[in-house]
Symmetry: C2
């Protein structure tokens, strides 16, 4: 593992690190914020999964999460959104290939050799940060924005016991039913829709739900809301009687101005679960 | 004036606007955050001047200032750092020309026709925002980062009565005595150093000081600290017995991670003066 940069921030350290990923078969870069408390022993950790076109850097510099994580004494992990590099397949569209991993293990070519973001975020990166940093693997929570909200919700429901709480900002809620999803799931997983189901938060909610609290914020003026389909997940949550808070925020759009506005609420929500 | 974008943020609006500038003789773009309170009447305003290479956008997306401005009910203005465009002179170096206006009125060619950032920030933009937005011109304060900290301090001391408080993050404190300054003041103002003096915060502190409170933060691990020369301004402040708080922050560097860490302190400091 290689240190790209370390900047003191809010009494702790905002680091950027790269490593050779076995899951993705290429070098991967991630951001990690450690609060001051990490010097004294393992701290809880909140994962932040980013949306389409983002790298590890967007949320790290624009979401304003470190202020609240420092206040709560919890670490933040900012993974990249896909494998990258010259030998890695890509597509001209912004929503397929590099920057658009969708948090699945691709089974179809040309994606299969590298696009294994599920294994990367669910297995390889958690093990790596637990080995190298003062993180408590028993206290993890997860959040994300847009495609990353999809990732957070599907990881949380597919890995029972792993995360104490899950939240999302403007998540893709029903990718099997919208253009942000059908296109990518076909490309990465093939045409058999049975393989898609575990990567759809609304279907997973109907099937298993989540054993813990959920918080979801979506801007009522989100320009992509028809692609997100929050109504499908809201219905599934209500049908299951799942413990959850879903909020539609009047006037807010899909941008990081929306994310940063409600970041304090989300970090506080997770801290309540992580420190319980 | 043209609206480039408006995003709801922290209950208010983060806007970006462009207009044809008389001072700079080209189109200029700026960011403006209005808190929710602006709907009910004029609100106080805090100016944020950015550093070398920045546009209006960097601080607007990375400094985390809106959260605290919303809490305090004050507006934020984010001007650009220089004139821009195809007809505007530039230099290959990052620290001269476009992105490096240094908040002066250039008298030397090729800079004189456009590089009039002093007039732009001191006169034209304040009049424009007072005309178009719910800003109270009687309640203004100013801050900035690096070159923008230099701008904030020199504007505040040259325009007595304009600003109720001034602060700076890692400001260039003594440009007549360091490479971040001598090079640009020579290029923009010519070789007669008498014309430079009002653009040097340390010299202005010795000459006039500031009729109000000052807050200055600098990272003790700032990689550019030899160019900033905080010791010169600290000495001038102490010699004058100027009301001021100067802090050296151990471990912090020159980045926006440093700026965002102490943003709450600065906005609160200005709010105390603006609401007094």
């Amino acid at each position: 593992m290689q240190t790209i940069s370390e900047n003191k921030a809010f009494g702790g350290t905002q680091g950027v690190y790269s490593h050779t990923s076995t899951a993705c078969n290429c070098d991967m870069t991630f951001g990690l914020f450690l609060p001051a408390e990490a010097a004294d022993g393992p701290v809880p950790v909140l994962w932040y999964l980013s949306g389409l076109t983002c790298t590890h850097e967007n949320a790290m510099t624009k979401a304003g999460a470190q202020a609240w994580a420092a206040e709560q004494g919890i670490a933040l992990v900012f993974p990249d959104t896909s494998p990258r590099g010259e030998g890695v397949a890509d597509d001209e569209a912004y929503d397929l290939g590099q920057g658009a991993g969708f948090y699945v293990n691709a089974t179809q070519n040309p994606w299969a050799p590298h696009f294994r973001m599920w294994d990367y975020v669910a297995e390889e990166l958690p093990a790596l940060i637990a080995e190298h940093f003062g993180i408590d693997p028993e206290r993890q929570s997860i959040t994300g924005h847009s495609m990353g909200g999809h990732g957070a919700l599907t990881l949380a429901m597919n890995l029972p016991g792993r995360f104490r709480s899950v939240s999302a900002f403007a998540p893709i809620c029903n990718p099997t039913g919208a253009d942000w999803g059908r296109k990518q799931l076909t490309a990465y997983l093939g045409e058999d829709e049975a393989a898609w189901a575990r990567h759809d938060a609304s279907l997973m909610m109907a099937k298993t739900g989540f054993d813990g609290p959920i918080l979801i914020d979506t801007g009522a003026a989100d320009q992509f809301i028809d692609l997100l389909r929050p109504e499908t997940l809201a219905s599934a949550i209500a049908t299951r009687r799942q413990q959850a808070v879903m909020r539609l925020q009047p006037g807010y759009d899909h941008s990081y101005f929306f994310v940063s506005t409600f970041m304090e609420d989300h970090v506080t929500f997770h801290a309540d679960a992580l420190w319980a």
